[in-house]
Symmetry: C2
Subunit: 484 residues, 2 copies
């Protein structure tokens, strides 16, 4: 069958809302949002956009694609930072968008769990839990537009991993449509289940290359009754790492965030997002410059705000006594707390104003981070004295966003490509020496596929390929993502 005839047949099954063919149900502008990635780095072209409204319709699409040999690119909110959710430029890949599967199916407050369809927005899942007085703690910048299915497919991280874990730790079970169009029904709400291989965790983080997540059973937590937030100035990262270790022992599970920001990104926020820099003012030096490093720490309590504050204060006092910080601001009101987070969240926006950055989402044991930042900073400075490092991230998880702004003469074309390649080599070589990872939370997608192929253990890669072949022998599920 020609693809055109095949699409016509599929259209008759799914209806005009269920399948958008280019130039038929949708024009180029409508499809564009589904063909270009969030960072604007990958511009693809879809054979068509499937928009199933039920699991049965997902099965219909997948079975039709299997029969016709059409590759599928699963898509949630299309917020991937690694080009994981847009088609290639061939015009031969079908984008299967899940946003019409957007129902919260059930909440079991006694079991601290809920079941949702995969196209629910993350913010919608958070809100549904909140209406029952419960917390779904996954929290990240794109929460208003990303879907829970995408969060699970990419094992999303965010700002509360330190306490609650990544998406994987928040998922109890999955419903998946396999590459053969069968429904793998694993919507278990169990905290313990040792009946065979862990298919759930295999699908989490597989980025749509093994099948399509259609629903998930999620783990909920009690809502904390109190929260306390503070900013701390540090002279160097070793102080911040020592603070983190102390915070673990003093606050234990109360410690929900431990973010770090270098002077560079803080100055960018001052420059481009002045209102977001408000929280910083008590820590500025007489000339208005930020400290070398600022830590954002957050403590929650199941008792009260006062208890959260009191425990945090004790920690800060001890940190000052031990000379682990050169300045402290504690938020005593919600507004101050929000300002502290605006500072942290203002960084990516401020970065954008500076133009292109070579970005890295790296991780390593926290004990290795000070050495890494010193050594790589020196190496970059030596080779490209005009480059600027923008370093910030989730120190509590050992995860840094380590971005490098090219010098003026390397900001476009081939010079930029060369610069990016050379910086990546320098950064990832250092990450390897620190036994770190080249993707802590963003995943592999297209962006890191070649680096994974070059740097991962050959035994691991061979095993991943064997699993991919066993589950998706025709290679139709998000081909070219994660693995070559």
């Amino acid at each position: 069958m020609t693809h055109t005839a095949w699409l016509d047949a599929l259209s008759r099954q799914l209806g005009p809302q269920g399948l958008w063919r280019p130039g038929v149900e949708a024009d180029a502008a409508q499809l564009h949002a589904h063909e270009v990635d969030w960072r604007g780095r990958y511009h693809g072209r879809a054979l068509a956009l499937a928009r199933p409204a039920s699991v049965a319709e997902v099965v219909t699409v997948v079975q039709a694609c299997a029969a016709q040999g059409v590759a599928i690119v699963p898509q949630g909110g299309n917020t991937s930072l690694v080009g994981g959710s847009v088609p290639d430029g061939s015009g031969q890949q079908l984008v299967l968008n899940l946003q019409r599967l957007n129902q919260v199916i059930s909440i079991d407050a006694a079991n601290l769990s809920m079941v949702v369809q995969s196209g629910c927005l993350l913010s919608q899942v958070q809100a549904a839990a909140q209406t029952e007085g419960l917390l779904f703690p996954l929290s990240l910048a794109s929460e208003g537009s990303c879907t829970i299915g995408g969060n699970l497919a990419s094992n999303a991280g965010g700002t509360q991993v330190l306490r609650y874990g990544t998406a994987r730790a928040l998922c109890l079970g999955l419903q998946v449509v396999t590459p053969q169009g069968q429904v793998l029904d694993g919507l278990s709400a169990l905290r313990k289940d040792n009946t065979g291989y862990d298919l759930r965790d295999l699908y989490i983080g597989s980025e749509g290359t093994l099948g399509i997540i259609t629903a998930a059973s999620l783990r909920l937590h009690p809502q904390p009754r109190g929260v306390a937030t503070a900013l701390l100035a540090c002279e160097d990262l070793s102080q911040a790492v020592a603070l983190l270790q102390m915070a673990h022992h003093h606050l234990d599970a109360g410690l929900t965030a431990f973010e770090v920001m270098a002077r560079g990104p803080l100055a960018l926020v001052q420059q481009h997002q002045a209102p977001a820099a408000a929280a910083l003012s008590p820590l500025l030096d007489p000339r208005g410059a930020p400290p070398e490093w600022v830590v954002l720490i957050e403590n929650t309590s199941c008792e009260s705000d006062a208890h959260a504050q009191e425990r945090l204060q004790l920690l800060l006092t001890q940190a000052m006594t031990l000379n682990l910080t050169q300045g402290v601001v504690v938020a005593t009101q919600t507004r101050q707390r929000q300002q502290m987070w605006q500072l942290r969240e203002g960084i990516p926006q401020a970065e954008k104003c500076e133009g292109l950055m070579v970005k890295h989402d790296i991780g390593m044991p926290t004990s290795e981070i000070p050495r890494f930042v010193t050594e790589v900073g020196q190496a970059l400075q030596a080779r490209w004295p005009q480059s600027q490092v923008v370093c910030f991230g989730h120190l509590g998880d050992g995860n840094l966003h380590y971005n490098v702004q090219p010098p003026a003469d390397a900001r476009q074309g081939l010079a930029l490509e060369d610069f990016e390649r050379a910086v990546n080599t320098l950064v990832f070589d250092a990450v390897e020496r620190c036994q770190g990872t080249l993707s802590a939370e963003h995943g592999i997608g297209q962006l890191r596929r070649e680096e994974l192929a070059q740097r991962a253990s050959p035994v691991a890669l061979q095993m991943m390929q064997a699993i991919k072949k066993a589950i998706d022998p025709a290679g139709l599920m998000n081909p070219g993502r994660v693995l070559r």
Copy 2:
């Protein structure tokens, strides 16, 4: 090559401590402990016992077995409760025991992680963490004889899952020898790593059927500074479930244990283990009978014993006000706390004095548990009025040990087999209706293999078989365990 010649060659490589051939390096009695399971249910016969002392020697053994087509049964402390670590009766399977790989390799206190070889005893791992002022929280009855490799291969649970998760949640990375004798080196100490499929979680819980765990990178926690423990009497399980829900909200991560014990097992402890029943005395009725249900609850604090007590007291007061408990005892001294745990841990010993039980390690959403226990109890009573139910377990995880003592006329031979089969059908049918699991923490091994094959989703089973075939195409790794 004959097996005898092959064993001779292997013996030259491993030396007399590295390979015990029956009647050569070891007599029948020495091999016996490695051929019979802990419950004494499976009596196998090993071709030989390999005792490698290094990863290189594990590779030697696995490659030799692959070349000769000899099946391998990996073994740690041989404490499996499902016959997962003993050979079959053919005398053709090689037992590969890992207890000589027993080194704690490193502890990184700043990163809250440690690396250990898989043959370390669980108690040895706990002790090593403790010397650094840290906690490895996995805790279970056999901790003095089970190995961390076995804990990970079976995704062990235990008494602190409520707060810290199962073995899976406590593992950051694995080193594995694959069925082809390659070393998969994933000893990462990272909290976030999104570089491809989750091979770690695939190996955890695979019960030695995909390869051999030789080392693990483990997640450590701060040691709590305070602990408070109490026993509560409840009239029915609905009260206990309501208490659990309240405890989550009041204590959040402080809640480290929520165990439940029915009158039946408590009476057995009184009868057979009188000293272990000491903690129960304040809750006995005038005739000396235990309450219908007793809950053991434990709260920890990163502050102090006093803080742990105070928070627990507040909860207990509210529980009494709401009439959710008919009696409370709080441990104010370490000795009282130990007695409460002796009561809980005395149950399996007391059970043994009663002779054979048909045992189940089931799980379900906690919200389903009261209905399950009522309905199944009634059904058993109706069909076998002389049978006795012994029900206790980790209510906080939705995990019950639901054991049934046969009536006198069904305690041996064919009558016992018929009884066991009928009870299993009744119990597992009810578990299925409650969307539960037939193995919450013990795994599948040989004991539950047929039930898994009959009851698991065919799509899931097919996928597990495909993964097994992709990773172990020759089928030499612990054959007949987990999957048919």
